[in-house]
């Protein structure tokens, strides 16, 4: 009888352990899933950051180009205005 009892206990323990292992496994798997999810989010954040940086860079370069052209144009207009206007006299 004792042996039977022992056997049953042993069997129960094994089952318990198996259950626990499954639970841990599940937890770990779930954790991995969560981590993948977070990874996706962070990667997206990085992508957004990269895009923002490149966007900022290209925008600034284009704006700088425009600024340069505007400056040149302004100088040309300055020159033309000086040519066209009669200019103020000293008296």
């Amino acid at each position: 009888m004792t042996t039977n009892v022992n056997f049953w206990q042993f069997e129960r323990q094994i089952l318990k352990m198996a259950n626990r292992g499954e639970a841990v496994q599940k937890q770990i798997q779930q954790d991995w899933v969560n981590r993948e999810y977070i990874e996706i989010i962070t990667i997206s954040i990085k992508k957004i950051t990269d895009f923002l940086n490149s966007f900022d860079l290209s925008c600034r370069s284009k704006l700088a180009g425009l600024n340069e052209k505007l400056t040149i144009l302004e100088r040309k207009i300055d020159y033309l205005e000086a040519c066209v206007t009669k200019g103020e006299t000293l008296t």
Partner: protein
Amino acid sequence: MPLPKRLIEPVYVTRGTLPEDYPLPSELEAVTNGTLANTVRQLSSLSRHAEDLFGELSRDAQQLYDRSNSLQARIDRLAIKVTQLDSTVEEVSLQDIHMRKAFKSSVVFDQQIFSRETMPTAMQETYNVCDKPPPLDKLNCYRDDGKDGLKFYTDPNYFFDLWRQEMLNDTERMMHDKGKKPHRPRTKDSGQGYRHKKGVRQPHNTRERQKQIAREQGEYIMPQNTIYRTPQQIHQSQIPAEELMMPQQHVQQRPPRPNSIEIRRSYQQEVPDGIQSPAYPPYDENPYQHGMYGQGPLSSESLYAGGTPTRGSKIRPSVPPPAPPSNNSTPSASTPTRGRGIPAGRDNLPPPPPPPEASMSPPPNGIPAHVIRQSSQSRSNSPHSQHADTPEPVQDLPPPPPAPVKQASPPKQQTPVAPPPPPPPPMPMPMVVNGPTMTPMLNGDLAKILNSAPPKLTPVKDRPMSKPPMVDPRNDLLKAIRDGIKLRKVEKIEQKEVERGNGLHDVASILARRVAVEFSESESGSDSECDSEGWGENETSA
């Protein structure tokens, strides 16, 4: 070391997400939740930075938009203005040209680009997080040398001050070196001053050389003349005709040239009509005859192309008769049109000329008669009333004319010479020069030409009107030149004072000053003196 402009926080998303003091049913979930929370924080930080980024971009774009708008407005205004421009209207008169302010570009260069003011807000936040420097400035009261204690620890302006000091010292040294040179000649009149004068006189020598060359080979001094004339001509807007005449005159008149240059200048100023200019060359060859024929450029040229005396004889018959009537008519009723008066005279007078025409008239009478008539005409044409009286005696002269052309010329010369003097009063400088230098012949020729030329287009009344304005510009020019020299010196002094007064804290101004000093060192050192002395010589000579 790169300076990140924007930092997305938190950086380590998963670290420290597990609270230790709190019992957790599932650690993994706790970590996952913490990580997620941090990720959301990152996202918020990211969105804040993105907002800042877009804000900066939109601000820059807005600035560009405003600038382009204002530029568009300026362009529109300019377009309207350009359409209103009239090329035929003289834009700047000679009097006004030196009254004008020089155009000054208002371009502003960006300075101190990497200062604390221009720091982007994102970086400013990061900067504010940094530890502040130790308050060493609190120890200033214990310092004897008055220096700022904090600057021994940190001084953001250190390198700029270093650079500024270097640049200022450089410019100071260059100014000093440059200042010595001009001072030496002024103080020491003997040695170096003479050298400088030599350098200055070069242009003068070249002029004389050119004059000599012109005398010998008949080269043109044209460029100089044209330069002088152009302003005046512009006034009258007769440029093309005069320019055309100029070369011919020069070619034909070599010897008188040097002296005549200035004379011509003055006379041409007086003479508003450029049309008759083509007739000038013939005049130069035979001043008297040409003057007579000056009425029609074409006719005069054709006539003069051949032997002048014979042609003169041919024409003479027609010419002499008109002379008396023209004289009578012209003086009384200002003769705007000489040609008309002459034909009328021809009709009336034809009888008298015929006898001499065949043989007698051509050599002696014809020429003198023409001369006389011209002189009278010219006088009548000329603004001066006194000359109008003279023509009568001239008419009487025709009989004496039998004397050779040379004799006839003297009266002419005298009469024409008389007209030139009148201009002198308005223009003291040029006149004085002309008087001594001028040979009677030249003056007579010029006077003839001038006098003869105007009658066609401009009535007598117009001439006097044109004279005064013409005279003024030259005087103004001389004044401006003198004043300009003075002004420049004054400017230098002022600049020095200003520069010494205000410490230069401006990169652009320092650089501009340095550039100016370098340029002035290379150019003004020689040019200014040359100019001043050159002009001084001219003035003295004039």
